[in-house]
Symmetry: C2
Subunit: 326 residues, 2 copies
């Protein structure tokens, strides 16, 4: 059940926006779903209801469908946002469009309304400059589909009131998330930043002839996949025995990549305009059939791992393992 | 069914050794299980049979138990190794002891027998110097439990005959592994090297005050865990759309950590002799109960994800997605 943030606005009814809407509905919030494009109102409605249905089929809804549709208004009129406690913008990643949307939102909402963006492309600090009251603005970055993933990054811009971000983090637990608060806005947020460290290191090993691309991929997939869901990074270290890490840090850190170069195979991809499975030009050979299987696989796995992870999540919660040593 | 490597020797009957033995038995190999410590023969026998039983309980054995025990000799006499096609050493990580074991192995096996080590602590290049025929020696590094994980790193030392390593890689597919061949011996092999890049980057973000340790941990766990099992690293990039990575590489690589320093919280851990869940002094607060749950969780999850991953693995195999563009 929602706490202090009961009335939620979501602006933008794309794939991401509609799954975020369903996530809020599932949490018992009232949602104003707004498209900034009147001509997309009908397709937007359809998309939201489709996502709601998918969520229902996954068995993630505890009430019947009416309960959720009664809590939902789909519209193209910004005035409907006036009672919102939180608005989450999910429109296209174009700064000028977002700027225009923010003006329209800020024009109608009450002074205490928190405004947020799902952007992963434009720094929060840059978008924040378009606000009259910038302290109420922050990033709320979801994974897709929002209703069946736990991931949530809440990012403070330089002018964000941290207390508001902490409030959102607290509320996000009611949305059934495992929210992470970023006190500063950094490019790539957390997981991208960490994964880019992996890409940099990975390409270096490949290009030094130590391992081939598929070999490295399998290694990471089958090693990390075997424990990440129950442990995360640092709990894994506690499990493996912390002592052995301290000494190997000083040996291995100096061996790690410090390259800033785009790897040659990625430059070649750029030359042939490779977009991976989207135009069947990628690091791997893809056919339209294999690309489809990959999409299907992710969609089914997503559902399975969400439910599986929960069993372990609940057991550990009892022991408040998420509390960190001071 | 095994191909060219039918007769396998495993030296060392610890937890790792016994689960490797079961992995070979499961693959239909004949196994000589040898303990270098006569006084550990009985406990070693017990350990191997326990692991075989666990493997059976997981439903991973296709034959009845007799089939496997008939293929198994547990002994303390190196002469039993004389007909082995491959010997895998899994004794304690002490160079002098390994050296002694290698002399005893090489003394009895036939000239074509491949000899390997499960070490993760001592470089293959160093151990290789203890061989009369060093070209037949390589690393074969397993994850635990060996019979219910797909991970396998095969590592060439500087004197290893690469063709032999490629033969082992090919055979390892019969052992139901997803084997990775390392053409050169590097510290930390592949996954450790990649994960150390994550640790370095992660601690930097934490120590710059951008995120706290538990927040970063959740982020990585719930983002990566949501897809790693079906995609790996590079297939994920193909899926997300490769084009967007090329431009962000040149932006984000220069922002990544290049620090060689052991993070201060890890130095503090060293000062208090913190060994994580093993002495309840770790990065997280642990109690003996929560440590036990963590162990239980990993053990159950390990089984679940092994089976779950297989569904996706089989579907993709049909399309040979693991073939890389030349």
């Amino acid at each position: 059940m929602p706490g202090k943030l009961k009335n939620i606005g979501v602006v933008g009814l794309g794939l991401m926006g509609s799954s975020i809407i369903v996530s809020f509905l599932k949490a018992g919030c009232r949602v104003i779903a707004l498209t900034p494009l009147s001509e997309e109102l009908e397709i937007g409605k359809k998309r939201v209801l489709e996502q709601l249905n998918l969520c229902k089929e996954m068995g993630l809804l505890s009430e019947n469908e009416d309960y959720y549709t009664n809590n939902l208004i789909i519209c193209d009129d910004y005035n409907f946002l006036k009672d919102c406690d939180l608005v989450n913008e999910c429109v296209i990643e174009i700064e000028e469009i977002k700027k225009d949307v923010y003006h329209k939102i800020e024009n109608v909402v009450h002074p205490k309304c928190i405004i947020s963006t799902n952007t992963s492309a434009i720094p929060i600090n840059i978008l924040q400059q378009y606000f009259i009251k910038p302290d109420r603005f922050m990033g709320i970055h979801w994974a897709e589909p929002a209703y069946s993933t736990r991931f949530l990054e809440i990012t403070c811009g330089i002018k964000t009131n941290v207390e508001l971000a902490e409030l959102v983090q607290k509320e996000a637990i009611n949305w059934e998330k495992e929210p992470t608060l970023l006190y500063k806005d950094i490019r790539g947020f957390i997981t991208n930043r960490l994964m880019y460290a992996v890409y940099r290191q990975g390409f270096e090993l490949i290009n030094k002839g130590i391992v081939d691309l598929a070999g490295l991929d399998k290694c990471f997939q089958y090693d990390i996949g075997q424990w990440i869901t129950v442990m995360g990074l640092f709990k894994r270290m506690d499990y493996e025995g912390l002592d052995k890490y301290v000494s190997s840090y000083s040996v291995i850190f100096p061996l790690l990549s410090i390259s800033n170069e785009v790897p040659p195979q990625m430059k070649r991809i750029l030359e042939i305009n490779g977009r991976g499975i989207h135009n069947l030009k990628g690091l791997y050979n893809h056919s339209s059939e294999s690309a489809e299987i990959l999409e299907d696989n992710l969609s089914t796995f997503n559902e399975e791992i969400y439910k599986l992870a929960d069993l372990y999540r609940i057991k550990l919660k009892q022991f408040k393992l998420s509390e960190i040593k001071k």
